[in-house]
Amino acid sequence: MMQPVFKDIRKDILRISKISGHGHIPTCFSVIEAIYAFYEAMKHDPANPSWDERDIFILSKGHAALAQYVVMSKFGYFDIKDVETFGSFKSVFGCHADRLKVRGVEASTGSLGHGIGLAVGMALAFKIQKSERRVVVIIGDGESNEGTVWEAIMVAVNLKLNNLKVVYDNNMSHRRGLQICNPGDRFRSFGAEVVEVNGHDVEALKSEYLARHDTLKVIIADTKKGFGCKTMIDNHYEWHRRSPCEQEYEILLRELDETTV
């Protein structure tokens, strides 16, 4: 059963999307647990976001920024009330995050296929520094249509970056366009260590983040777009970047309350 905290996060996302008229809700709902697992399991300090021993989290699929903001607010990085300005003219909380505006965000992302290369560079930097710091980056399955994802994977394997974990949000976005069948086999054939987990199982994700590995690890996180709301799961293409009206909002909240997943 979905824990109350994850229902709360989803409700916040729905509410902020309704207020702002922005947000990619289905894709936000697929990565909530993967983001939350990072902030629960890894080293970071909301009181000191630039702590020099912190681990690094990068949301390469930057259009799920609202999910990151809401999760970070749960960990004390900022007040959820501030996130309600999401996407408005002078807000620091854009629909894609700007690291220079949002405290604790490590990289400005948005254009797909960029965050993973940055993550490789950061992981390499920690290796040169002989530091124990780790990097977790979430990429989308649709994002993985980009050739730069595979370049970065090859480089990370070549450099044996065992301090880098790539979470592949397997939410079936790819199905509509360039399909990536058997992603685990593909990453394995590129030389990465691969595990497949339920991407909504926060404990499984935490344990994979903390597990040691010999080279780059790719965590195939099987997820559902719109997870928690039947309406969205059934119609996620329609909901790709829609915000709910008042009536839809009530229906979606009810679905979340009644969900049995």
Binding site: L118, V120, G121, A125
Partner: protein, 288 residues
């Protein structure tokens, strides 16, 4: 000039353990000395220019000074979005050093030529754009800018000019001020030909190695003359013309077509009118 690049980097790295080389399978043998001495900070990452830039940005985010290097068009045109977003927008500075421009690889044809780099990179916020024309210029400008946290672009050519000039980042040099009614402005290695062509002519001559920030003070000095920008690339003309109200024309690359011949670099210069005789002829007409 690439040898100078290596020599300067070797000199800098002796006192700076934050300097990291990121190569795209180019100049690898040249940097063997660096690789042997600093194996932890030498990466021939392969032929993946987009990722070279992203990885360099990631290194910069953790306090390193990356030097990312490969052939010009592949690093600048192919990876423009990585430079724009991963380096510039994220403010993860680093040193982008390319080789081959404009026509060093003449015989390889249009795929390996590059003349848009200066123009497109100068449009990105807060980037420093440098076209060293000589080994000395490269040495001085690398040393002065490499660790300032900004994105700094260095466009190298293996056909440097040999004129010895004072070098300071952001400052142009007046090579000739004869109160002529025509002022020639140029940048980079083509100075060799331009200098020779201007020798016996009643024209002023101004030289730039820094395209951004452009030295507006010197441009102002020649505001009341006819300015002719002679350059084997785009970018200098646009930078000069940021100063409003000038009478400025461009002489260099052909309009709206590829330089799709092969042969030698001198042959291409001659073909497009950037040899000494053609430049001189053009200026003579201008002076009539």
């Amino acid at each position: 000039m690439r040898r100078q690049f290596k020599d300067t980097v070797m000199g800098l790295s002796a006192g700076d353990d934050k300097l990291v080389m990121v190569l795209g399978d180019v100049s690898v043998y040249l940097f063997k000395e660096f690789q042997d001495k600093y194996p932890d900070r030498f990466y021939n990452m392969g032929i993946c220019e987009n990722t070279l830039i992203s990885v360099s940005a990631g290194l910069a985010s953790q306090g390193f000074y990356p030097f990312v290097h490969t052939i010009n068009p592949f690093l600048t045109e192919r990876s423009y979005e990585q430079i724009k977003l991963d380096m510039c927008y994220n403010r993860f500075g680093g040193n982008i050093v390319t080789c081959g421009a404009s026509f060093d690889y003449a015989w390889d044809g249009a795929t390996h030529q590059s003349y848009t780099d200066l123009a497109i990179l100068r449009m990105l916020p807060d980037v420093e754009v440098i076209q060293p024309g000589s080994r000395k210029e490269l040495d001085v400008l690398l040393r002065s800018q490499y660790d300032n946290g900004k994105v700094t672009y260095y466009r190298l050519s293996d056909k440097p000019h040999t004129i010895d000039l004072p070098v300071k980042f952001g400052r142009a040099e007046i090579l000739k001020d004869c109160s002529g009614k025509v002022t020639v402005m140029t940048a980079g290695p083509i100075l060799g030909n331009v200098f020779e062509a201007c020798k016996d002519l009643q024209v002023n001559l101004v030289y730039f190695h820094t395209i951004k920030p452009i030295d507006k003070e010197i441009i102002e000095k020649f505001r009341n003359t006819d300015i002719v920008i002679i350059h084997d690339a785009f970018g200098l003309f646009e930078a000069v013309c940021e100063t409003a109200g000038l009478s400025a024309t461009y002489y260099g690359l052909p309009k709206d077509r590829f330089c799709d011949t092969y042969g030698t670099f001198e042959a291409i210069r001659e073909d497009i009118g950037l040899d000494v005789i053609s430049i001189k002829e053009m200026l003579r007409k201008k002076l009539l």
